[in-house]
């Protein structure tokens, strides 16, 4: 399994988490990317963006109330 890329977008509000995700995914044909966010809005926005780009999306709730959005292709 290739390396996991982790992007910490906690504390940022839209559109920045999506922009950070876009940057992380650019040029990536496949892989495993994890985006950390702290609001449901960011979770939804990042998930929608990644789904539109053909990534499989999974979400884990974190102990601090945030979310780990796991993207795989």
């Amino acid at each position: 399994m290739s390396d996991v890329i982790t992007v910490n977008a906690k504390g940022f509000s839209c559109p920045q988490p999506v922009m950070m995700t876009k940057k992380a995914l650019s040029g990536l044909e496949s892989g495993h990317v994890e985006i950390l966010v702290d609001t449901a809005t960011s979770r939804n926005n990042v998930s929608r963006f990644a789904e539109n780009k053909g990534w499989r999306v999974d979400v884990e709730e974190l102990d601090d109330g945030g979310f780990r959005v796991i993207l795989e292709k």
């Binding site: 906690k10 504390g11 559109p15 702290d38």
Partner: protein, 357 residues
Amino acid sequence: MDKVLTSRQGPWIAGGLIGLIAVALAHFGNPGNMGFCVACFTRDIAGALGFHRAGVVQYIRPEIPGFILGSFLSALIFREYSPRGGSSPAVRFGLGVFAMLGALVFLGCPWRAYLRVSGGDWNALYGVGGLIVGIFIGIIFLWNGFSLGASESNPKAAGLVMPLIAIALLALLFMAPKFGDNAPVFFSEKGPGSQHAPALMALATGLLVGWLAQRSRFCTVGAVRDFLMMGDAYLLKGIIAFMITAFAANYALGTFKPGFEGQPVAHSDQLWNFLGMVLSGLAFTLAGGCPGRQLIMAGEGDSDAGIFVIGMLTGAAIAHNFSAASSGAGIGPMGMHVTIIGLVFCVLVGILSRDRG
């Protein structure tokens, strides 16, 4: 219902309902094409509290505390209440001030800009054009690394300040105390401030819209931003539905009156209609959302959005105390000055607030 509201089609439903409610509120007493106007309503609240003394625009609009409390309750119920803050609060205060100043040069926030077009006020087309240009300038800054920095999680109580202010405003509305001769609370006897739907109806619709917008993330600025920036039409659906239902309701009620002249609470100085909204659109984009969205986020516990709202309240006082607000007769003597100062402020914020990480 929640599944639908938070689905990909949610904005169609939320936006459509909000458009219908807006026209209904104007029908039941709010000023023309002003079913909802976050800027005008916040300005009226500033007047009611005596922060400015423009006698025709003083009323505690229950829609505004309704938005905050509707969002607050929705966020609590759906476990999305999350107190946070600390992302350049002073800058956000300034953006709130200038977003309001720009909106009062045009005479409406983005919500009302769309509502004015839906009611046939073609002057507002210049405002919507300015809004799109302002948002686009904001996008250029975002593309170049603009960021106000990350916020941090705050103690639970930190998110209660704005809901408590909302409750205090409602108490002042319904109890209507007088704090002395020629002292607040003021309620306009003529002019737009005297025109309002019944208070309980307005409060109920505010709560309803607060819930709808909290669930669907309805945002009149984010809609254009996401579409122009990423081709993401999710939020744009909300605005399209909002304008279609508002137009249909206006048409059905006979309040669709196409033209430039004689429009309610509007002027025909097109250059400043345009530039006022360039300023507003830019300030809202740098702050991350339209004024309605700021109220909703404030209800969710976002203190940075709360500071922006306090900035708007201050901007309203400045607009009227320093003769910068427009009226039906045209722009105020200082309208041009504050617009230009505001644009310079926003451009400096856009250039200087960079995330170098």
